[in-house]
Symmetry: C2
Subunit: 294 residues, 2 copies
């Protein structure tokens, strides 16, 4: 199987790594604007060959893992080039715009819209990790618009690298993901900003910050080049989540101002319920491990 990975960074690189470890007859071709990244990916053994867009005519599977603004430009071109038996899937964190963009494309049936819920705060080919997708959810949108045999091939690959599948329409996807992913990134970036502005003496941050601060501010290390177009494409939903978040913070501040610490306690106690939700995430992973007999 000839697999082309476009964008050989954290996600594309990890996909290539895992694919090589689970499939015997796979040849991985890398395409990237950044030639240093391509060379690094060759060195690291993430890809077998460097390639260009025109080589896509021979592809069996294309994995598109580039910033979501670039995907809007590149996906139609990919579909123009690939043959009728090639499946093209992607890893973008927004799905509505991209699905709309190719809705009338004559090769729409060759595209399977995806979003793997996996990643780290790092980027580039050196950030690629073995097992990044294991027991993680891949959200598939508009599966009915993809040719049955082609989506089947993509799903086999996703399952081979350990992913769970969840189906969702693109509009719901973008609305939900604004809450459970995009908002977390903004809350973390703005927390980092607030502390950096105040603590001009970084020595104070070093000495006083514990693992709690490191955990809440971790996502503020993420790549602006990846996240800016996500916030742009999901603007309406993200602004809604921000409004609710800001309103909750203001309410908490008001309770403090009014010395209503009984209600401050209750707010936190109710939110402690997130423990069970996070345990649920872990349990899901355990169930999946058992199902896989691992």
């Amino acid at each position: 199987m000839k697999v082309f990975v476009i964008g050989i960074g954290l996600i594309g690189g990890s996909f290539a790594l895992d694919l090589k470890s689970v499939m015997k007859k796979v040849e991985i071709y890398g395409i990237d604007e950044n030639d240093d990244h391509l060379e690094k990916a060759l060195d690291l053994g993430l890809i077998d060959h460097k390639a260009n867009l025109e080589d896509l005519k021979d592809a069996d599977l294309v994995y598109l893992a580039i910033p979501v603004d670039a995907s809007l430009e590149v996906l139609p071109k990919i579909l123009d080039i690939v043959n009728d038996n090639c499946v093209v899937t992607d890893a973008g964190s927004t799905k509505e715009h991209l699905c709309k963009k190719v809705s009338e494309h004559p090769k729409r049936r060759n595209y399977l819209a995806g979003h793997p819920i996996s990643g780290t705060e790092f980027s580039g080919p050196t950030a690629a990790l073995h097992g990044l997708f294991k027991n993680k959810t891949n959200i598939i949108c508009e599966v009915e618009k993809t040719a049955f045999k082609l989506q089947e091939r993509a799903l086999e690959v996703f399952q081979a690298i350990g992913m769970r599948i969840r189906y969702m329409d693109p509009v719901s996807h973008d609305r939900h993901i604004a809450y459970v992913s995009h908002l977390s990134h903004i809350s973390s970036f703005m927390l980092g900003k607030t502390v950096l502005e105040k603590e001009k003496n970084e020595r104070d941050i070093f000495d006083l910050a514990g693992s709690g601060f490191a955990s809440t501010v971790r996502l503020a290390k993420s790549s602006p080049a990846m996240w800016t177009p996500i916030f742009n494409q999901n603007k309406k939903n993200v602004m809604e989540t921000l409004d609710e978040y800001i309103s909750n913070l203001k309410h908490f501040r008001k309770l403090m101002e009014d010395d209503n610490f009984e209600e401050v306690f209750s707010e936190m106690e109710r939110t402690n319920h997130i423990r069970e939700v996070l345990n649920g995430i872990n349990q899901n992973e355990e169930i999946k491990l058992q199902e896989n007999g691992k």
Copy 2:
């Protein structure tokens, strides 16, 4: 040495565990309102004996690790009871009120105000961990008000369990810690609240939430009984951090509303500097490891 730990939860329990592993001749007495916790602490071997406040007359060192509102009531009573050669130290996350409360106590010289920057989101004696304090900072306030020989004894113990020491006045402590610790907890609690309110179907949170969400929302599992009095005692500083945080979030929202994604990018890029700050924290730990010859 007879050590009395008052409040045998995550912090008190971990302190007892580590002390037993580094000091040969130490007997640990546990005092706790909650008799179940005391029994559990005995079972787990965190403490050697159960005790009461009146037994403190025989103590060489007292470690106070209870919620900060309770400390205000209990610390003066402890100082009333202990002998002239006993050092009493604590782990509270606010220092100004507590230091004021005992400033005129005839045994003020027996008290050393401390705040270890360590912990997890869990609580109770079963949450106690070996090595919780290793390479972590213990902030000491008003060291000049503690009898020299007594602070020396406490410092030997802190260093034996691997802590770094940083000196600070109580007012500065409470101001700095509002930024690097207390604000993180509120940002995390309100993020959890926002998502729980929206995602009534928890299945959606399970499937869509990745490690990023889990990381930013981790502190929302923390104990309301511990955190409510902290926010109360540090109200002025915490409200100031909240005002700045909310203002930064509103500014980010305004940039999005105005389609100024160039500046959205720049905001995130500037905040990426937190990478070096967090690396600084890690490097500090490595330096300390080298200093210790480990």
